[in-house]
């Protein structure tokens, strides 16, 4: 099929990109510690990008046999479009790392096997006398093709699965999960059940300017919320980022180093969804901003190489985002960081990240799960508190960084102790 499309498209435009994806999915929904609903299906789609005299057009369809209509439509759109003098070319090929993206053992699970896998996890939770109020498991097995006029010609078979659960014991809730390309170990489940126990009997605390220890989950959420949009090379170019004209400036504490690497982590890939080879990109080095995230279009504008951060489905053109994120570890154990706090809080999770003002870094978020610490000891879980401040200020004031990277979905980060932040309590 891909050859037929190529043969049809190549003489009609100056350059082109063909993106084809075909996957089967099984989805299991959980309610009240039981499997509640199952769906299964398949999806396929074709996305075509063309360039004719620096005019770009995009069209997609689920009706792959009717690819000629999709190609013709993309060409029609390109002809209607304004010339984009900033367009250079689609992604270029390169040396691809050998990364395992397909796990046969996951792909070969039957629906019944998936069902049994979830039930085995539910059994562990039930034995801990905990209820799973809601949750889901999804598995996808697919094939993708990316082919363009610059020589990218890639075919991949891939597997993905993800398990999310919402735990409840008494009136205390806690969410967790696991995801990856192979059969999941769900090894954070025991840790999550332990935290749930510790969250019993939440208390209010008074408003306090104090040290704040964000554990790895809270750090992952914060980094995702504040950095992913602001580090986008496209957003910087369009003056929609707080990092415009800030390259090579020291903006944060020298204890903070931020890296994106699509070839590592729980969702490794050998290339992004344009076909650019994945690898390590150091974004912030010891507090200094040294790199933005790019797809091929925005990289060409800044005359740099794409960092392989163009992501898309068949129905859209690429958008820039993180792949797998790493924060360099420090040299203190979590326990050591807790014992260094005279009066402060530990934050395990916050709510409301979509309300953060990206341009200024100003935030006021609800602390979903946290603990009050006094004289180096965790005293009690807290409720009805907000954390307010500015991410720029917070990341300038790093006191300590944990001595290990913990995985949380596509993030691999240590816990971080901040010198001071405002906790709004009663």
């Amino acid at each position: 099929m891909i050859d037929k499309i190529k043969n049809y498209i190549k003489s009609k435009c100056d350059s082109y990109e063909i993106f084809l994806d075909n996957a089967t999915q099984q989805n299991i929904e959980i309610s009240n510690t039981k499997i509640d609903f199952i769906s299964q299906g398949s999806s396929q789609g074709l996305g075509i990008r063309v360039e004719i005299g620096k005019k770009i057009g995009f069209s997609s369809t689920t009706d792959i046999n009717n690819f000629k209509k999709c190609v013709d439509n993309a060409i029609k759109i390109a002809k209607l479009n304004k010339k984009d003098s900033k367009f250079e070319k689609f992604a270029i090929s390169g040396t691809y790392k050998k990364v395992k993206v397909y796990y046969k053992d996951l792909a070969s699970l039957s629906l019944e096997d998936c069902h049994d896998f979830i039930n085995s996890k539910l059994e562990i939770i039930k034995n801990a006398k905990v209820n799973v109020t809601g949750g889901s498991y999804g598995r996808s097995v697919g094939k993708s093709f990316i082919l363009n006029s610059e020589g990218v010609d890639l075919f991949n078979e891939y597997t993905i699965n993800e398990f999310d659960y919402e735990l409840l014991k008494g009136n205390v809730g806690y969410d967790g999960g696991d995801s990856g390309r192979g059969i999941l170990k769900v090894d954070k489940l025991n840790e999550d059940l332990e935290i749930l126990e510790k969250l019993k009997n939440k208390k209010v605390m008074s408003t306090l300017d104090c040290p704040v220890l964000m554990n790895y989950k809270a750090c992952a959420e914060m980094i995702d919320s504040f950095f992913s949009g602001n580090l986008s090379g496209f957003n910087v170019q369009q003056k929609q980022s707080c990092f415009e004209e800030k390259l090579w400036q020291t903006l944060f504490s020298n204890k903070f180093t931020l890296i994106d690497d699509g070839s590592k982590g729980v969702f490794p890939s050998n290339h992004d969804s344009e076909g650019t080879p994945c690898g390590e990109t150091i974004l912030v080095s010891k507090g200094k901003l040294i790199q933005y995230l790019y797809d091929s279009y925005s990289a060409n504008i800044d005359k740099v190489k794409s960092t392989a951060n163009g992501f898309r489905g068949y129905a859209s053109t690429p958008s820039i985002g993180f792949s797998n994120v790493f924060i360099e570890k420090g040299n203190k154990s979590f326990e050591k960081m807790v014992s260094s706090i005279d009066k402060g809080v530990i934050i395990d999770g916050m709510m409301g990240y979509h309300t953060v003002t990206d341009l200024t870094g100003a935030f006021s978020l609800s602390i979903s799960n946290g603990f009050y610490v006094y004289k180096g000891e965790i005293k009690y879980p807290i409720k009805d508190c907000m954390l307010a401040g500015n991410f720029f200020e917070l990341l300038k004031n790093i006191e300590m960084v944990e001595n290990k990277q913990n995985n949380n979905y596509s993030f691999n980060v240590p816990s971080i102790l901040f010198k001071n932040a405002k906790v709004i309590g009663s």
């Binding site: 209607l80 309300t355 709004i424």
Partner: protein
């Protein structure tokens, strides 16, 4: 016998007590411009087919981009087989309903070039010198949606849905701000007549916010405008009334039916018949929309139901069974949710506050229905001192607890506006909703502030 009927019959002969077949043919157009450059000019054609069955008391679902109905019915039965439930849904009468969204200007009759030019030319950028970047996004979805089921019902909805966003970025010295303004509805291209006003007002507010002060964090009395009041209604009440969450023991409104949970001035309704972005004449299970009173004179009187939750709770479905895609599980969701008019005057609300805030607009919100905690953001507001509206403030977050805050709504205005079109997320699914409210006064709310 139609093709649909043939495969419904096939499912029934395999032992299904109910078979539902669906088809969506969708055509999307997206135009994104940044500073008058076109960054996206995309067109998508999608076809999706799905079969949902009730087999031995359990629902099962299968979907595909190919209309292989027999295979879909077989896979849906396989899905249902793995579940052990005892659901019984109420039989419905045969019905044929053809719905067409009213449009004055059919979007498919305007060529893409003209649409693109219209979007580019919206807004008087020169009048707003501090604007450093302006992004506009136009999204058009033309959808032909059919449902047919074992009860001889056939629904077809030829829908036209348009959403427009204007996001203006301002800069002065080291200060930076942005302001997003949007509108969306089931309508034709005629709604783009509002485009000029939307783009200009987003640029105007982005400039004004450069000079705005931060709020002081703490507990204050607040007045919420119609837009913020709408989001409050959606987050602080609407979600906790969704019956699936009640059945999962993760709603603070479980066991509260018939009880007084809010001030007597508060009446809240969810109504799929309203011709807003949340319009849902028939839900994704073919149930006709009608207004559902959620809170009446402060008392909780109903939950929002799908066929399944209604069957478990032994009540009537409320027309709130919705799914984002044909591949998604149908669950209770809101449509258009609003607080009814009261009889308090806005001026009296302001004069009753010694120190507090008048907060306007919203960037959206989030709720944890199990703990009853919610958080949402206003886009901007004004400081109130000694009964007078003072300086402009940058929009802070508001946090609270559902059960504690509902009795604190002490005044309800008589200026209801349902204006928000928005997208609501739950269980990984996003659906179109609207909400609204008159001005309301809350005696004490936790305001997040940087001061």
């Amino acid at each position: 016998m139609s093709e649909f009927d043939k495969f419904i019959k096939y499912g029934e002969t395999r032992g299904c007590s109910y078979v539902e077949l669906k088809e969506i043919i969708l055509s999307n157009t997206v135009i994104q411009t940044v500073n008058n450059d076109v960054k996206k000019l995309n067109s998508n054609d999608d076809k999706v087919y799905a079969a949902r069955v009730l087999y031995k008391g359990s629902f099962g679902l299968a979907y595909s981009n190919k209309s292989n109905w027999k295979d879909l019915v077989d896979k849906a039965i396989e899905s249902a087989r793995a579940i052990k439930k005892n659901l019984q849904i109420k039989e419905a009468v045969p019905l044929k309903k053809l719905i067409k969204t009213k449009v004055k200007i059919d979007p498919s009759e305007i060529n893409l070039k003209e649409k693109k030019e219209r979007i580019i030319n919206l807004g008087e950028r020169k009048k707003y010198p501090k604007i450093c970047s302006l992004q506009k996004i136009y999204q058009e979805a033309l959808r032909n949606y059919s449902i047919t089921n074992s009860y001889g019902q056939y629904f077809n909805w030829k829908d036209s849905k348009i959403a427009f966003y204007s996001d203006a970025y301002s800069k002065e010295g080291t200060e930076q701000e942005n302001f997003l303004k949007r509108f969306m509805n089931h309508a034709g291209f005629e709604i783009m007549e509002r485009g000029e006003e939307i783009v200009n007002s987003s640029m105007d507010m982005a400039q004004k916010l450069l000079k705005a002060e931060h709020t002081e964090g703490g507990n204050f009395p607040i007045i919420a405008d119609q837009e913020l009041g709408g989001v409050f209604t959606h987050e602080a009440v609407g979600h906790a009334t969704e019956a699936d969450l009640v059945l999962q023991n993760v709603s603070v409104l479980k066991n509260q039916l018939g009880k007084k949970i809010a001030n007597s001035k508060v009446n809240i309704i969810d109504d799929g018949t309203k011709k807003t972005y949340g319009w849902l004449p028939y839900d994704d299970e073919g149930i006709k929309a009608s207004p559902t009173n959620l809170i009446k004179k402060g008392n909780l009187i109903n939950y929002l139901q799908s066929l399944e939750t209604a069957s478990i709770m032994n009540v009537e479905p409320t027309g709130n069974g919705r799914a984002q895609f044909l591949s998604s599980m149908i669950i209770p969701r809101m449509t258009t949710t609003y607080i009814e008019n009261g009889d308090d005057k806005f001026e009296e609300m302001v004069s009753s506050i010694k120190k507090g805030y008048y907060l306007k607009g919203t960037k959206g919100g989030v709720v944890n229905t199990q703990r009853g905690e919610f958080l949402f953001n206003s886009t901007y507001g004004y400081y109130i001192e000694n009964g007078e509206i003072k300086n402009l403030v940058k929009g802070p977050s508001l946090m609270g607890n559902i059960m504690e805050i509902l009795p604190k709504i002490s005044m309800v205005g008589k200026d209801l506006e349902i204006q928000n079109g928005g997208h609501c997320g739950k269980c990984g699914q996003t659906v179109a909703v609207s909400d609204g409210s008159p001005h309301i006064k809350i005696d004490s709310a936790k305001v997040g502030g940087q001061k």
